[in-house]
């Protein structure tokens, strides 16, 4: 289907990752407009009016976040979180690999708005091509005078660095990201103080997601009214959804918020693989609870998905079909959190190990009737008791799976085997 893209402009314009192509297609016009027509405070107001919310997962209003920076004369920092590693989410990777200049332009405008003089892109270590693309885009932006001293004669100056992480999901948590950027282990910090007060190098810092910042040039170009014309009053605008799992066309889809989940899966992603029925959907990355198929008509906005019993999160939508063993799928996800727990606090470090052990034991037919209660008990001792959100994130799918599919967990125990044959993938025949 043909559509106009505002974030994934690379879908329409080949080679837009090169500055000449980006410039020929209106690139950096938004920056020119921002520095010529807006005072920084007016830009913050514009983003507030647009209702743009953080696209990294939490959905916090971006303009409000910018407004938290104290006016105390300290040097400010803008840090862009490009540590995309939430299972099921791959939207930021497409932006940084294929439309990096829109991100860079968004960073410059956002830094102008927040009066930051230094900006950093924290790019996850696994994105080797992505970090190369970003470094090239930043170099090209310097060469064209969009970065450095006195940008476009505005008197505003900005330096931007690309910083490579080295493999740690926890560094997507903003305070752990800042620790890592300071050359430390990526352990989260105690909050408060929040980064707006004491962030990078102790200075006032805004941490925004890649997709959030990529929205900014479009909002400057087309206006806040354009943005609020899409979505709902509380969740306006565009969002990229990453669809994966048992659908015909797993891909990124840029659609207005409040588009029904059914439309995303059936029209955009082409529906389920032939002969398969939908069993459950993880709508917002691996950290959020499952939705049952009866919730397919839920509009994909922050409030509606919450009301349906899950969260919009990062927009990473994993679709499970009737051939997927829910215990096996849950075991796989909880193992992810075991691997990625930073080990700082006990409930998360030990709890994720314990839950993975029990789930894998169950999946292999070695579970005992006590195990079901054990899982719920361990989950109860993690929920709300961890230092950072990672512990809670490990529970979303598990707790909802045990609620909706308890019979499957029990069948694993009482039949001493996985009824689905311990398979997450079942069409290989060799």
């Amino acid at each position: 289907m043909s559509q106009k893209y505002y974030l994934l402009r690379n879908r329409e314009i080949p080679d837009i990752d090169h500055i000449s192509v980006y410039l020929a297609n209106g690139g950096y016009d938004a920056l020119r407009k921002a520095v010529n027509e807006f005072q920084p405070e007016e830009l913050v107001d514009l983003v507030k009016k647009s209702g743009l919310r953080g696209r990294g997962g939490a959905g916090f209003p971006t303009g409000m976040k910018w407004g938290f920076l104290p006016n105390d004369g300290r040097k400010r920092y803008l840090v862009v979180n490009s540590d995309e590693a939430e299972p099921g989410t791959y939207k930021d990777r497409e932006i940084i690999e294929h439309n990096p200049h829109q991100l860079v332009e968004g960073i410059i405008i956002s830094s102008y708005a927040t009066k930051a003089r230094e900006a950093y892109i924290y790019c996850r270590g696994e994105f080797l091509f992505g970090s190369e693309q970003l470094k090239r885009a930043v170099r090209e932006a310097y060469e064209h005078g969009f970065l450095g001293e006195n940008i476009l004669g505005s008197g505003f100056s900005l330096d931007l660095w690309v910083y490579r992480g080295a493999g740690a999901y926890i560094c997507g948590e903003e305070s752990a990201l800042l620790e890592s950027l300071e050359g430390k282990r990526g352990n989260p910090r105690l909050k408060p103080p929040f980064p707006a007060i004491a962030g990078l190098y102790g200075g006032p810092t805004v941490v925004n997601n890649v997709e959030t910042i990529t929205n900014v040039p479009a909002i400057v170009t087309y206006g806040a009214e354009w943005y609020t014309s899409m979505g709902t009053a509380k969740s306006p605008g565009l969002k990229i959804f990453s669809v994966s799992g048992r659908v015909k066309r797993p891909d990124n889809y840029e659609i207005p918020l409040a588009t029904p989940l059914r439309t995303l899966i059936e029209e955009y992603a082409g529906g389920m693989l032939p002969g398969r029925q939908i069993k459950a959907v993880i709508p917002g990355g691996s950290s959020v609870p499952l939705l049952n198929p009866d919730k397919l008509d839920t509009p994909l906005d922050y409030e509606s998905v919450l009301q349906a019993g899950s969260m919009l999160g990062s927009g990473g939508c994993i679709v499970l079909d009737d051939h997927v063993c829910i215990v096996g799928a849950t075991a796989r996800l909880v193992k992810f959190y075991r691997e990625e727990s930073c080990g700082k606090c006990t409930p998360c470090r030990e709890g994720t190990y314990w839950m993975t052990d029990v789930l894998e034991r169950m999946e292999h037919g070695l579970g005992t009737p006590d195990d079901i209660e054990t899982l719920l008990d361990v989950a109860d001792n993690i929920g709300g008791k961890c230092f950072c959100p990672l512990g809670d994130a490990s529970l979303g799918v598990l707790v909802s799976a045990m609620k909706y599919f308890r019979d499957e967990f029990e069948a694993h125990v009482f039949e001493h085997a996985c009824p689905m044959g311990e398979k997450l993938y079942d069409t290989v025949n060799y």
Binding site: A85, P87, E126, L128, F129, G183, K184, R185, S242, S286
Partner: protein, 160 residues
């Protein structure tokens, strides 16, 4: 210590002068050249940046992409996240294990290949996805995978 390392340390410190921000870039650069970070390398980096060996070790050991054991010339990461598992990543891993005669986490005796699990590489549209020296390859059809050709470095690298 290689003679060029002190120059690299100087450059890293110039680029990232605050806190210990120069540490990760320097470790990346040295690992790029050496393949891995030995105990001696950790000591050298510590002295180059004026840090303690224990501190550098604590940081290096935190991140999965800093190899504290010797790895093969080609490091293969098979993504085993849920989306890739749903598309058959376990079979891909199995095929590569059989072909290389090693288990996940091991290096072939000739020092050519290291086979590792990766936790979600954020490329679920390419599931099942594999990285060869951090370059994406996918979707790798588990039934059709020609392990010989893949290991030899044939085509299908994707940048999308």
């Amino acid at each position: 210590m290689k003679p060029e390392w002190s120059q690299w340390a100087k450059e890293a410190k110039e680029q990232f002068p605050q806190a210990n921000s120069s540490l990760l870039p320097l470790l990346h650069r040295i690992q790029q050249a050496e393949g891995w970070l030995s105990d001696e390398t950790i000591q050298d980096v510590a002295s180059l940046l004026g840090l303690t060996t224990q501190y550098v070790e604590s940081v290096a050991s935190f991140y999965s992409l800093f190899y504290r054991d010797k790895v093969g010339k080609t490091v293969i990461h098979v993504c085993v996240g849920l989306s890739c598992a749903l598309a058959g990543s376990d079979h891909v891993m199995e095929k590569l294990e059989h072909k290389l005669g090693i288990h996940e986490g091991q290096t072939t005796p000739d020092g050519q290949y290291t086979l590792l699990e990766a936790e979600c590489l954020a490329a679920c549209n390419l599931a099942p996805v594999v990285q060869r020296n951090l370059r994406f390859h996918g979707p790798v059809d588990p039934a059709e995978l020609d392990a010989d050709a893949f290991l030899a470095g044939d085509g299908n690298e994707v940048n999308r």
